[in-house]
């Protein structure tokens, strides 16, 4: 979609043409959104196919492994169970059946004694995981970007060197170890913060609404902090190098030459452009963040999806495993879509369909 070379928005030729520009933008943007959403379909199918293959092509099928632990399992019972779960049918039929179930969020029933539907199990744990990851993401953005900008502006200074070293250390530190150390110091040594669960076990029911929120906050501080750590280090490093890249460009020199105050050059001219690649980086960091949930939720005993994953691996609860795998990957997929949308919102070249090469 080619538009005339000079953009009416910059012409400042009155509100009317500005309105036209916005309308045009809206249409191009919705087209872009539709295109992006359509490309998600094959990726989604791929996710389901790989999840399915992982579960069914692995040595030993779910039923035999479960049966090995059960001394009462006779060949007849096993055959009956195989038929009940449809495991005696060809693989493509099983896949199709499973996919149809997935469409209506029917992921089968758990192998655990409670035999609850898998989706129910995941559904009740999803909000906690999403909450913690969203908070962590917010924390990452709020801390990492200013840190990276500050380091890039003072390139080579003591501050820059110290943050660089800290970032490297934070990036290499195993998150679960940092969690242990924080638990050891703030929980055991100082006794300031609770080290497990989502809320206090004793006296929680009697708390007032405000006290409950406070109690939640106290329990969430450490998990959120620890899950943010790795991403924080990564993003501030990317912000720094992205800023350095932009600060080298000619239009920054121009802005300085015009006599603009340095603050305006940094925050208005440079940062806005430096932020663009960071949106992609944030999108790419989502799987890592969600993956971290497994570790932090099991350390801090938080009843989220990660803990469910861990316990279902331990119990070899395959329907739950498979459901979990698909659901978190779809979450990641949606996160990437959000990042794409954010990118388009931030970059008019993509929003309006003008590509870089034009």
């Amino acid at each position: 979609m080619k538009i005339r070379g000079n953009c009416p928005y910059l012409d400042s030729s009155g509100p009317e043409s500005r309105q036209r520009w916005y309308n045009h933008t809206d249409m191009a943007f919705s087209l872009y959104l539709i295109k992006k959403t359509i490309t998600l379909v094959p990726t989604f199918l791929g996710i389901t196919l790989i999840s399915f293959m992982v579960m069914h092509l692995a040595p030993g099928e779910p039923m035999t492994i479960q049966a090995d632990f059960n001394p009462k399992m006779t060949p007849e019972v096993r055959a009956r169970l195989r038929a009940e779960y449809g495991l005696d049918r060809p693989l493509y039929i099983q896949y199709w059946k499973w996919l149809k179930g997935l469409a209506v969020l029917d992921l089968g029933r758990s192998f655990a004694p409670d035999r609850r539907p898998v989706w129910d199990k995941i559904k009740e744990r999803l909000p906690v995981t999403i909450l913690i990851n969203a908070l962590a993401m917010g924390l990452i953005i709020v801390i990492a970007i200013p840190l990276g900008v500050a380091a890039s502006v003072r390139q080579g200074s003591l501050f820059d060197n110290i943050t660089t070293v800290l970032v490297f250390v934070a990036y290499a530190a195993p998150g679960f170890w940092v969690a242990l150390l924080l638990m050891l110091y703030f929980g055991v040594h100082l006794g300031w913060l609770p080290i497990s669960g989502l809320h206090s076990l004793i006296g929680y029911r009697e708390m007032s609404w405000g006290e409950k929120v406070l109690d939640w906050c106290r329990h969430l501080i450490l998990p959120v902090l620890v899950s943010a750590l790795g991403g924080l280090a990564g993003l501030s490093r990317y912000t720094r190098s992205s800023m350095l890249e932009v600060l080298r460009q000619d239009y920054i020199t121009t802005a300085r030459a015009k006599g603009l105050p340095e603050r305006r050059v940094i925050y208005h001219h440079a940062l806005r452009n430096a932020l663009l690649p960071l949106i992609t980086i944030l999108g790419l960091s989502i799987p890592g963040l969600i993956g971290g949930s497994v570790i932090f939720e099991s350390i801090f005993a938080i009843p989220g999806v990660g803990q469910l994953m861990w316990s279902s691996v331990m119990a070899r609860d395959y329907p739950v495993l498979m459901g979990n795998l698909v659901i978190v990957s779809v979450l990641t997929l949606l996160g990437n879509l959000l990042a794409d949308i954010g990118y388009a919102l931030a970059d008019p070249r993509i929003r309006t369909g003008i590509q870089k090469g034009d």
């Binding site: 990726t43 195993p174 242990l180 150390l181 993956g291 994953m309 331990m314 979990n324």
Partner: protein
């Protein structure tokens, strides 16, 4: 012959650039030191890492046991030293597998383009949607948790970055004159890919190998910590931390030292990787 001389000069150039980069030097020192520790573990360890000593259970660091003892009275320092073998082995084998897969698929995608490229890159996109730990755990659930399974599974789930990188290298290299020259001499596709183009893409691959080993070691330690990686009594830094967690209130040394070992190791590989990247990319030298 000329090309060969050029190649060696280029190598010497980046080696000397690397030796001036403090990050790269620190990283190499850590990595080399670690390899020495791993290779000479039996001579360096003061005790047998498996020897149970019920008279000295959960002792704080002392002159006899420099880093203290665990719940079974085993010497922590010795277990840390032997743990280095596990970490290095997992890191190197897992990254070896992922680099082989990634390089092969990336080369095919970049060289042939068209539907092969679309197919492979779509597979990369899909694999990148799985939070790695979830995918690894799902596979591990079917297998006996052993060090070999862990290495293979980590390798099979972490090749996507290499594939993207190699593809990009191939895209920019396949149009060069030397590829055309090779084709005119009648070289087969496989020969062009592996003995003409690939050697020119080795440098960036080396960077991802160094960074990849660091992250593979982190993944292994996380899995072992969760009890689905390297199984006790084999000492790995991850499963030593599990013991640390179980004795958090009474034995801080069990939590502190293994984590530090992981931190230093991963830091070493990351520094090496970043230093290598800077040395190989002259543009970055101005920073």
């Amino acid at each position: 012959m000329d090309a060969y001389v050029d190649g060696t000069r280029h190598q010497i150039l980046w080696l000397s650039r690397m030796s001036k980069n403090p990050m790269a030097v620190a990283g190499s020192l850590i990595v080399v030191g670690l390899c020495i520790v791993a290779i000479f573990a039996p001579w360096l360890a003061p005790y047998d890492p498996q020897a149970i000593d019920t008279w000295h259970v959960l002792e704080a660091p002392s002159r006899m046991h420099l880093l203290g003892t665990d719940a079974l009275g085993r010497d922590c320092l010795s277990r840390l030293i032997y743990g280095a073998r596990i970490s290095l082995l997992v890191g190197i084998v897992a990254v070896g597998i992922s680099t082989l897969i990634g390089t092969f698929l990336g080369a095919l995608a970049g060289f042939y383009g068209r539907w092969i490229d679309t197919l492979i890159m779509r597979l990369v996109d899909i694999m990148l949607c799985f939070p790695t730990i979830f995918l690894i755990m799902a596979v591990i659930a079917f297998l006996e948790p052993s060090i070999w399974n862990i290495m293979v599974v980590i390798g099979l789930t972490s090749w996507m970055g290499v594939a993207r990188l190699v593809r990009a290298e191939f895209l920019s290299l396949k149009g060069r004159d030397f590829v055309l020259a090779a084709r005119i001499t009648g070289a087969s596709d496989m020969r062009i890919i592996f003995s003409h183009i690939l050697p020119n893409a080795v440098a960036p691959i080396l960077v991802t190998v160094a960074l990849g080993i660091g992250s593979a070691i982190l993944t292994e330690s996380a899995l072992s910590f969760l009890g689905i990686g390297v199984q006790p009594p084999t000492p790995s830094w991850g499963n030593m931390l599990t013991e640390g967690k179980n004795n958090l209130e009474i034995a801080w040394w069990l939590s502190v030292f293994p984590g530090m070992a992981i931190l230093i190791t991963v830091l070493g590989y990351n520094l090496l990787g970043e230093g290598l990247r800077d040395a190989l990319d002259p543009r970055m030298m101005q920073d």
